[in-house]
């Protein structure tokens, strides 16, 4: 029997999950909602349902990777989750797609460095996967774009049928993207508590994390969706569909590998791939630059906040 009090530390993880949902839902449905192709309510309901499904069915692999970076206690896990949540919230308020994965790993590393207990092997695996995420998504986007273009051109259809096909595709692939988001990123929300709470196993952690992400999607993702939709490149429905599918495939692959990666980096990589096919003049480099700055700032900010939190807790109460 799990006591409610023992679940209290998960509040930090829940907050982080909420923040992740608020920020990352834009990466799966932002382009469709921003272009008013899919209603926000439809997107939010689908996204939240599929996130929970992905988290519960395939979310445990990432938990094992994150829990191997450093040794955690319940208190340091809370520090990590709160530090990562604050980092992610700051980026959300700035309406920039930020990487919760990077915020969490940065925060975990902050604890690792503060306690002098860091395992760099899984960290290296994570870093390699982060680099491969936008590159892989870009490559997949180029292939998907060319294949889909060849198929669509051969199909005789009216402009209304074309709209219908694209809307269906955006909903289908957005739902797949939400599933991949849950499967890959749930580890970021509650993974740091793996093995620390009595009666709470990894499957329960994925369920709690999934529900927290879903809550963030429903309550706060609308504004970020609207900013991603028109931000980086003028996206038509076809390009949006290719971008979401490519990002979803990439993120799902890394969910199976067991490394939480950034859906933000995935979607931007896909958009860059499409932009290269259509001509780089359609890309908004100013916004790309801001996003790149955000990506570098995020793990760094997570690291500083968690290390500072650890120092404050240690200074006030002694070593946690």
């Amino acid at each position: 029997m799990v006591s409610p009090l023992s679940m209290l530390p998960l509040g930090g993880g829940a907050f982080l999950g909420w923040s992740l949902g608020a920020n990352d839902a834009a990466n799966v449905f932002g382009t469709a909602v921003g272009a008013r192709i899919v209603r926000f309510r439809t997107a939010a309901l689908l996204c939240s349902g599929m996130v929970i499904l992905g988290a519960v069915l395939q979310g445990t692999e990432g938990i094992e990777t994150l829990s191997s970076i450093t040794t955690q206690t319940v208190h340091t896990a809370v520090i990590v989750s709160v530090a990562a949540a604050i980092t992610s919230t700051i980026m959300t308020v700035l309406s920039l797609p930020a990487s919760t994965s990077q915020a969490v790993v940065g925060a975990i590393l902050g604890i690792g460095l503060a306690t002098g207990n860091t395992n760099f092997t899984p960290l290296l695996k994570v870093a390699v996967c982060w680099i491969l995420t936008p590159i892989g998504s870009m490559a997949i986007a180029i292939l998907v774009f060319l294949a889909a273009k060849a198929i669509l051109r051969r199909l005789p259809m009216s402009i209304l049928t074309r709209d219908k096909v694209l809307r269906f595709g955006l909903i289908l692939f957005g739902s797949y993207g939400a599933y991949a988001l849950g499967a890959n990123n749930v580890a970021n929300t509650t993974g740091m508590f793996a093995g620390l709470l009595d009666g709470v196993d990894n499957h329960m952690l994925t369920a709690i994390g999934g529900v927290a992400i879903a809550a963030g999607v429903i309550t706060y993702s609308h504004r970020v969706m609207l900013s991603v939709g028109s931000g980086i490149m003028n996206m038509d429905a076809f390009s949006a569909l290719v971008a979401v599918l490519s990002m979803s495939i990439t993120v799902h692959i890394f969910a199976l590998v067991g490394v939480p990666v950034s859906t933000s980096q995935g979607i931007v990589g896909a958009i860059l791939g499409i932009g290269l096919l259509r001509g780089v003049h359609v890309l908004r480099f100013g916004l790309l630059r801001r996003i790149a700055i955000g990506w570098f700032m995020t793990p760094f900010l997570g690291l500083i906040l968690s290390a500072a939190g650890y120092a404050i807790i240690t200074g006030t109460f002694g070593a946690p």
Binding site: R36, I37, F145, P156, M157, I159, L160, D163, L166, R167
Partner: protein
């Protein structure tokens, strides 16, 4: 599916609009032909009323289609494109209506020697409208083929322009009163305006297709 039935309604509406617009322009051409043959203003007035009635029906249909668009059936971009297209097509039908009416209102008499020009000009513009309506319907069938017809519309419009110029030259080099010259010149211009407005529709169709080409 819900969306499918809305799509079918819009497509059916567009086909019906096409029929009404075609009926209006056919009535216009018939009116011009009759008037050139008989010079009968009473008969012309009846035919002008028939053209106006067809134009009004086309207008009503257009508004129905526009209302269907706003029931959230389409992508916002497609909604905007189709609404603009309908408005531009409507200007073609209005032009035919106005032109025939103006002959009656201004009691324009068409000299025998000018009639062949007028009839040929009317026929070219009517054909141009036919192509325009065909091209607009293709958007709701195989949209990638729609812009192919705009090239043919372009040819007809150019022919119309040349014939207009030739007709106006004839009018001003022959023995007609100044008032008659001006009225006939304006009439020729008004008929030629039909194919000009068709080209506006053609341009919109081209843009709609290009925007959707990947």
């Amino acid at each position: 599916m819900f969306f499918r039935s809305k799509q079918k309604h819009i497509e059916a509406g567009m086909r019906e609009y096409r029929e009404k617009a075609a009926a209006c322009v056919s009535a216009f051409a018939l009116g011009m032909h009759d008037f050139c043959e008989t010079g009968d203003f009473e008969r012309l007035e009846e035919q002008a009323r028939a053209v106006h009635a067809a134009e009004s029906e086309a207008d009503d249909l257009r508004r129905q289609i526009e209302n269907m668009m706003y029931e959230r059936a389409l992508f916002p971009e497609s909604r905007g494109d189709i609404l603009d297209l309908l408005e531009t097509m409507d200007s073609v039908v209005n032009q035919a209506d106005r032109t025939l009416r103006s002959i009656f209102d201004q009691r324009i008499t068409i000299p025998r020697e000018v009639r062949q020009f007028i009839l040929e000009l009317t026929e070219i513009n009517e054909r141009c409208v036919g192509l325009m309506l065909q091209a607009s319907l293709l958007l709701f069938d195989t949209y990638t083929s729609a812009s192919a017809l705009t090239g043919k519309m372009d040819e007809l419009e150019s022919r119309s322009d040349r014939l207009q110029a030739e007709t106006v030259q004839w009018i001003f080099t022959h023995d007609l009163s100044d008032l008659q010259k001006i009225l006939l010149r304006d009439l020729v211009g008004a008929i030629g305006e039909i194919s000009d407005k068709c080209m506006n529709v053609g341009d919109r169709i081209r843009i709609i297709v290009v925007k959707r080409m990947i």
